[in-house]
Symmetry: C2
Subunit: 93 residues, 2 copies
């Protein structure tokens, strides 16, 4: 499971969504992509306004897709939101 | 959906799991609790080593459970991990 925690500067919500949508449009076409959901905090004061949770068929499929995205982005990622994507597995329930 | 992002100091993984388990044991008994899963980053260098994702019947049920947990904790929460719990809803897929 890919969990991507976004730290968004004040006033940067719309830009963060646009950045996320641009990345989603590209990543969703990559082999091994299963699903993705962008979650927004219900409280405006939450430290992390957005958390994206995506499912991939394998860590390798995700790594390859990220490699392609970085190579494909003609323009550098916007300065606004800070992204912290990482692969996770369930360790306790 | 409750997403709780944990920032864990170096060497603090075991303590973070113990803290999480203590809170889970109490919260899981509260009315309205549905499920909870603790996710650990597969890469040791990930900024956020743990992300907990829990389902509650309503935001109110979660808020009441948190109120009880804070009142019930005889000892202050350990200094180790920093917890950033917040309620989220899906805004894009």
């Amino acid at each position: 499971m890919l969990i991507n925690v976004l730290e968004v500067p004040a006033g940067g919500l719309e830009e963060a969504i646009r950045s996320w949508e641009a990345a989603r449009d590209l990543l969703a076409r990559q082999p091994g992509h299963v699903s993705t959901r962008l979650h927004q905090a219900m409280a405006p004061g939450a430290r992390f306004q957005f958390v994206n949770v995506a499912l991939w068929e394998s860590p390798e499929a995700f790594a390859e897709a990220m490699r392609r995205m970085q190579a494909d982005l003609r323009t550098p990622p916007p300065a606004g939101p800070a992204f912290f994507p990482a692969l996770y597995r369930v360790v306790r329930e």
